[in-house]
Each structure stands twice: as C-alpha cells, then as structure tokens.
Symmetry: none
Subunit: 210 residues, 2 copies
DNA sequence: TGTACAATCACATGAATATGTAATACTGAA
DNA sequence: TTCAGTATTACATATTCATGTGATTGTACA
C-alpha cells in the first residue's frame, strides 16, 4: 500500500484525485491540503511514501513546500504536478530534489503508474518535461559558442569590460590611451554584432568567451 | 505511419524487434543493421522518423553512430537502447543529442509508446534513467547565488538590461517613464552593490539571477 | 493609524559611452 | 613588395548613463 499526501489548492481536483487514487488497489491518499503552510509538520505526522505537489498554490506554493520538506526529509518521494511544462519551474524543482515532474493532463492510469514508479525510486516525467530537461542538460554542456575571432588585445579589453572596468580604467590597466580602448571596443562591437557595453558583456557570458 | 530504423547487433533481438514493431498498427521498421558503419548513408537513404539505437555494438557503436547522425541531421529522433542504466553512457548520449534513453527490458507495449512519444517531440526515458539524469542535473547545479531580494519589478528591469535594452527601450517595454526606470535601476545597483549597467549584467549572469 | 516600502514620475548635472573620421606603425602572408 | 589586419593615438559630437533630490500613491504590517 503506497501512502500518499496530496497538495492541491483546487478543492474539486483535490477531491477528484483523492477519489481516483484511493479507489485504486494499492494506493491510499492519507490527506490533502490546499497549500504548504504546515507542510513539514504534516509530512512528519503522516509519514507518506509519495507526495503529489501542485506548484501553483496560493500561500506557500509547491516549490517552497518542496524546499521545506527537503530540509528535513530526503526520503519521501515528491512528484511535482503542474499545468505547464515551464522551463524555469522544472529547473527549480529538480534542483531542489523533486523526484518527478508531471503535467496535470496526465491520464489517470498513467498517474498511478507514475506514483508507483516514484515510490520504487524512479523519476517519472511527462515526455515534454523530459524534453526540456534534456535540452537544458545538453545546452549547459555543449561548450563553446562561436569564436568571433577577436584578437588577443580585443579579448583582453572584453575581459576587463566584463569585470566592470570603465574605458578609463581599462586604459590605465593596459597602459594605452582611452582612444585606443574606444577603438578596440568599436572593433569588438562589430565582431560580436552588438552596440553597447552591456550587450557585449552579456554575449561574453553566454558564449563563454570569458 | 512512423518509419523506423533499427541498429542492434544481436540478430535474434533485431529480428524480434522488427517483427514486433512492424506488426503493430502505425509502425514500420524500414531496415535493421548490425552496427553504425554506414549510418549516415543509411539514414539519408531511408529518411526514418525514429531510430532505435543500441549502444553496445561491435564496430561503430551507438554513441559514435549518434554523433555521426547529429552532424548531418538534427531532425530525426534517436532513441538509445541499452541493457544498463549506466551513468556515463547516459551522459554522453544526452550531450550528443539523443532524444530518449530506454532499457531493453522495457515491455513491448511501452516500447511502442516510447517510439510514438519520441516521434512527436517527447523525450521518453525509463524511470531509472530519468533518476540518473535528475541526479546529475541537481548535483551539477546545487549551488545557487544569493537572492539580493530584488522586487518583481526590479527583476523585470534587470532582465531587460541583460537583454541589452537601453533605459528608453525598457521604459517603452514596461509602459513606464524613463525616470521610473532610472529609479528602479538605482535600487538594483544598491542591492547588487554595483554601479554600472555592465556590472549589473555580469552579476546577473554570475549569480544566475536571470 | 502610523510606518515602511514598492512603484511611479520629475528635473538637473556631470560623467561615460557610442560613433565617425583619420592617421601612423608593425606584422605576416600573397 | 604590396596587401590585409592589428595596434595605436587623436579629435569631435550626440546619446546614454549615473546620481542626487524630491514628491505622490498604494499596500502591507504592526
């Protein structure tokens, strides 16, 4: 018997899920709550195997609830439940130790499978969510943006720009006149296809030039 | 009709999978090969929707095959198929643009679902694989920057700064006056302990505020 | 029912930045 | 040896930015 806690602000959905899950062989919803106000105490009191956690809830939301639980308990399996496969939330949830991330439109039969999977150590994810995760994963590891062939000198200037130096400071640092700095920066802008310092800095970070 | 190419060195398994898949409504195995020797030409010739790719094959293996395909084609969906949920291989495969990673012990019905999911842009993964992925993900990104408690509005402004907007453009974008933008930015600088746009942008990247 | 703070707008000023034009010198490759 | 590219400096001008001071409104909290 898999013991489940349910966090979902919509009363209808909460009721519906409770009925569905508890009505299935081997599953039991111990309790449901409308937000994570007292999530730590509740988890302690009920000691569930799996927690279904809606993300968008008024008051203390699912991501915050997740964090609070993980501060005191890293055994219980937590499945995030949400309407959108939103990049940012997925990332947050995973970083904070969620065991899975599924969309609310998941058909009931699948939901039960997912819960069972989570309980046995799996990491159930809706396919679209998994796609996002893979994208994030491969993007963060696919090194190297373009080269832009900056000259050595230009790279130095860009480096200093990124560190927050003004033209004047760069001139001092590199023992050249401020006009030379301007000249280099003009070149850099051309090569990076930008036209402001902050854009250049942003591009330097994105493309890992620095 | 989903068109499939199959790479698998074991003749029995290759035959079995072909029978299974082609025998199912809406699926067709165009051909099967015992390794990735000529994978690029084969993919070009058959133009499949989905490729089932065993990882462990003598000769040119699945990971190498994956790389070769991705050099010339990033449209076809590639499902990695393997016996073990081996950390290192998973990582490799994902980094090289695999669309999914499933174990050979996957039941036939599930396999067909997975293929269909992949074809429509999903990223099917066996639960145990997903678990590994999540672990890698959260471990490599555990540390998070400070908060600086920026207000919602300030975060928006910073976001736009990072994207290279000028004050004027931000004012337009946010339907506020340029003086309000100044005001917000002054606040942001205080909170981030910087005193220029580019420093703020750099800090936003470093501390992953954006 | 104040107080604190976020969000909004205004005016002013000096500093920094973006852009254009131009010139000189050095280097390595065609 | 010429050509292309890099590095350097100079001058000029318009725009943008940083900063200060001050005010109004609304909301949340004690």
């Amino acid at each position: 018997m898999i013991k489940i806690l349910l966090y979902e602000d919509n009363p209808q959905l909460r009721e519906g899920l409770t009925m569905l899950i508890s009505g299935s062989e081997g599953f039991e919803v111990l309790a449901g709550f409308k937000n994570c106000e007292n999530v730590v105490q509740e988890v302690e009191a009920y000691n569930p195997d799996v927690i279904l956690m809606d993300i968008d809830m008024p008051g203390v939301n699912g991501l915050e609830g997740l964090k609070r639980i993980r501060q005191v308990n890293d055994q219980v399996k937590i499945l995030m439940l949400t309407v959108f496969d939103d990049n940012k939330n997925i990332f947050q949830a995973i970083s904070n130790g969620a065991n899975g991330y599924i969309l609310k439109k998941t058909p009931p039969a699948r939901l039960l499978e997912y819960i069972a999977e989570a309980q046995t150590g799996g990491a159930p994810m809706t396919a679209s969510v998994a796609t996002q995760v893979l994208k994030m994963f491969s993007s963060m590891n696919s090194e190297k943006g373009e080269d832009y062939n900056l000259s050595e000198r230009e790279k130095q200037v860009l480096q200093l720009l990124v560190e927050g130096y003004s033209y004047k400071m760069i001139a001092n640092e590199m023992f050249i006149s401020i006009d030379t700095v301007r000249s280099h920066i003009k070149k850099i802008y051309e090569k990076l296809h930008v036209n402001s310092k902050s854009e250049a800095v942003a591009k330097a970070f994105k493309d890992k030039i620095v």
